[in-house]
């Protein structure tokens, strides 16, 4: 099975390791991974900021790059939501493009969603000795309705004890430009999130979206360097096949 990788701009620019972990995870599970080198950004920042004319051009470009692929997978629920749900809305006055957006959207998946729902894989043969907690990234949970899938993957990690996180479904305070524009609110939110994580006694906080990872791991590194947030694909890739990374 051939999987076309959609690497969000934040992953490309800042979290290249998460991108590589996605490649490793999917390849190890037997998928052939392809990556279109002309891909850039899905345009979500323009949609969030209200510049829909700019976003439309970017959306069309994205559609042209990916629409011939059978399956597109990304390690970001937020960006997948942009393709799956927002494109059709911003292109509503151009029915042909809207249709192309919808047709493409059906084949775009967040990585845990693809593995569990499409490929029927829950056990990636990973093992980890320790406690982990799971943060439910907003767009994954509420915009895409992906809740059980990442948790099923984590539950199958041998030796890992998944502990409950208070306020697991509450936003961490990233919100793209929000974190830059309203740093005080954003900081108070990520403090709340990491405070709840501290209470669990777990060593790692697993997240599913690059935005949450930037925010939470950045805050932990500054204030609680002994603790770590990790993208679910990195956690799985690192601990696959008995811990070979």
């Amino acid at each position: 099975m051939k999987i076309s990788l959609f690497i969000p701009c934040a992953v490309d620019a800042l979290l290249g390791d998460v991108g590589m972990d996605t490649v490793y995870l999917l390849s190890s599970l037997g998928f052939e991974v392809v990556y279109h080198e002309q891909q850039t950004c899905c345009g979500q920042p323009a949609i969030s900021a209200g510049y829909l004319d700019l976003a439309r051009d970017i959306a069309k470009r994205f559609i042209e790059i990916f629409e011939n692929d059978e399956v597109i997978v990304s390690p970001s629920g937020s960006c997948v939501n942009t393709i799956k749900n927002d494109y059709a809305k911003i292109l509503q006055d151009e029915p042909d493009w809207q249709q192309r957006a919808l047709t493409l959207g059906e084949r775009v998946f967040e990585v845990s969603q693809y593995l569990v729902d499409q490929a029927g894989i829950e056990d990636v043969n990973a093992s980890f000795g320790g406690r982990i907690a799971y943060h439910k990234s907003c767009h994954l949970l509420r915009a895409l309705g992906i809740d059980e899938q990442p948790q099923k993957l984590l539950a199958k990690v041998k030796g890992a004890e998944v502990v409950a996180l208070n306020g697991a479904e509450q936003c961490c305070g990233f919100g793209g430009q929000f974190a830059i524009k309203y740093p005080l609110i954003s900081e108070a939110m990520v403090r709340q999130k990491t405070g709840n994580f501290l209470q669990t006694g777990a060593q790692r906080l697993i997240v599913s979206d690059p935005g949450c990872l930037l925010n939470i791991s950045g805050y932990l590194h500054r204030h609680h360097p002994q603790l770590k947030a990790q993208h679910i694909v990195s956690f799985l890739a690192e601990n696959m096949n008995g811990g070979v990374s």
Binding site: A49, G173, P183
Partner: protein, 495 residues
């Protein structure tokens, strides 16, 4: 209250420094969230119940002019005088005239957001010097302190018992006590004297019933029933979207409001009021008025997309699901509608320029819309507000975003559409992020400084693009190596 959403930033700065309040409000959010979910789950078919409340609100909006006319017709037949107010000023002046006409000196009130929206208390006190007391315990406390309500049903939820006790000592001569039962007892005695002496009761309306010409009021303290039955005159103010076709619809909305908000199957008191006291009856007001307020809503109604904002049933559930509200509190919103309720309503009622931060300070997490019993799509509405602001909008008072921001986005979009430019820009940005330790940058330049003031930024050693290229090269060189080995081996074999 006077609207001041323009003060969002300074107000927010004060509020987010209150770390105890943030901790407390997050507990409140968790508790109310739990109570509400549990209470909704007890319904026979919770999903269907929600679909039904959405359908009822949509039906109201699709038939709004007809339902309002039907309500007016039936209310008038019931002996209620119906008055229409185009805006806050007209509503205030109508009520002022009623106060004068009925020689009113003391008013008791049922807590209502709509009277906060038109800033009625201040207006009547300043214009006429009439005495007004809020009848709801929490609302009375915030009235005495001269602060805005913090939550739609818990106006004083952010105050601790010491602050509350002191307020009552200072204002109604209570002997200092921190015993909740004693405090409530003191306030009850005080308020009963006001209810007994009041000439007019002013309330809001939870739902107006078109088919019967009644208004319905929900509460837990019994004070609204006092205000609507003891004084000679009852004035109810409603915003025009609050009508429902019939009692069945109206009570379903009330039930969803109550389950979503406080986690109660129904509030302790529900009053269905269908007119003033009849001849020979002992209780009820001699005169009853309903003031129907527009205040910008017909304009919202005209836009079929924005219209969904009027579906709001004021349960306040969105607030306890909103991390911004739980963190920054009610005050930054700068008006009577805090939390996502304000994010949705204030920009359309006050204009997009003045309320910029109200819809901008949102992570689009969708917590609000996931619990909204009216089915409002908050995220797409906020997207729309931002787009209206970006392009400028005359109807909702939005001046186009500054050229600087537009141009920055245009430049960014140009790069996004050109992979070579994009790679170069990414590399340049990575360069400007400054030095890294253990894979984190901790002192970012320019506008990114606000990020690194509070946290580090993970920066992988290379871009994914570079990693990928290296992987392809490695595979290529590994292939060549293997092929070379094969050649060599082949060569040996040939020997």
């Amino acid at each position: 209250m006077k609207a001041h959403p323009q003060d969002f930033i300074p107000t927010m700065q004060t509020e987010v420094a209150k770390t105890d309040q943030i901790t407390f409000m997050n507990q409140v959010g968790a508790i109310f969230g739990y109570l509400s979910s549990a209470c909704l789950a007890q319904m026979e078919d919770p999903l269907k119940a929600r679909e039904q409340s959405i359908a009822i609100r949509e039906n109201t909006l699709n038939n709004l002019p007809f339902l309002l006319e039907e309500f007016e017709r039936n209310a008038v037949q019931n002996g209620i005088e119906v008055l229409w107010a185009a805006d806050a000023a007209e509503a205030c002046s109508i009520i002022k005239d009623l106060v004068v006409k009925h020689d009113v000196h003391l008013i008791t009130k049922g807590k209502s957001m709509i009277s906060e929206e038109i800033d009625l208390n201040h207006y009547l006190q300043e214009e006429l010097g009439v005495k007004i007391f809020e009848g709801d315990l929490g609302e009375l406390i915030v009235q005495m302190r001269g602060i805005p309500p913090f939550h739609i049903v818990g106006p004083a939820i952010n105050l601790n018992v010491q602050q509350i006790a002191q307020t009552l000592v200072d204002n109604i001569g209570m002997e200092y006590t921190e015993n909740a039962g004693e405090i409530a007892g003191h306030v009850r005695n005080f308020l009963r004297q006001q209810f007994a002496g009041a000439d007019m009761g002013i309330t809001g309306v939870n739902v107006a019933i078109a088919s019967t010409g009644s208004i319905v009021l929900a509460e837990n303290e019994g004070n609204i029933r006092w205000s609507t039955s003891a004084p000679r005159v009852h004035v109810a103010i409603m915003s025009l979207e609050k009508v429902a076709a019939n009692l069945t619809d109206g009570l379903h909305i009330l039930e969803m409001q109550s389950r979503s908000c406080t986690g109660q199957g129904i509030t302790s008191y529900v009053s269905v009021l269908s007119g003033p006291r009849d001849e020979g009856e002992r209780d009820g007001p001699e005169k009853m008025y309903v003031v129907i307020l527009d205040n910008g809503r017909s304009q919202i109604y005209q836009d079929t997309f924005l219209r969904q904002a009027l579906k709001c049933i004021r349960c306040g559930r969105c607030g306890t699901a909103c991390p911004i509200y739980l963190t920054a509190g009610a005050y930054p919103y700068g008006w009577c509608y805090p939390g996502p309720m304000g994010t949705i309503l204030s920009p359309l009622l006050l204009g997009l320029d003045d309320t910029y931060h109200v819809y901008e300070a949102c992570t689009l997490c969708g917590g609000c819309e996931s619990v909204c019993p009216a089915g409002i799509k908050h995220v797409e509405l906020i997207h729309r507000y931002r787009a209206m602001k970006a392009e400028g909008d005359k109807n909702f008072k939005a001046t186009k975003n500054p050229a600087l921001e537009r141009n920055a986005f245009k430049g960014w979009a140009t790069a996004v559409k050109n992979p070579v430019l994009f790679r170069n820009s990414v590399n340049m940005i990575r360069y400007f992020l400054g030095s890294r330790q253990e894979g984190y940058a901790s002192s970012l330049p320019g506008p990114l400084k606000s990020w690194s003031d509070h946290r580090d930024l993970p920066v992988a050693e290379k871009t994914f693009h570079r990693y990928w290229a290296e992987l392809q090269n490695n595979m290529e060189s590994a292939r060549r190596e293997a092929a070379a080995q094969l050649d060599k081996k082949g060569g040996l074999d040939n020997e």
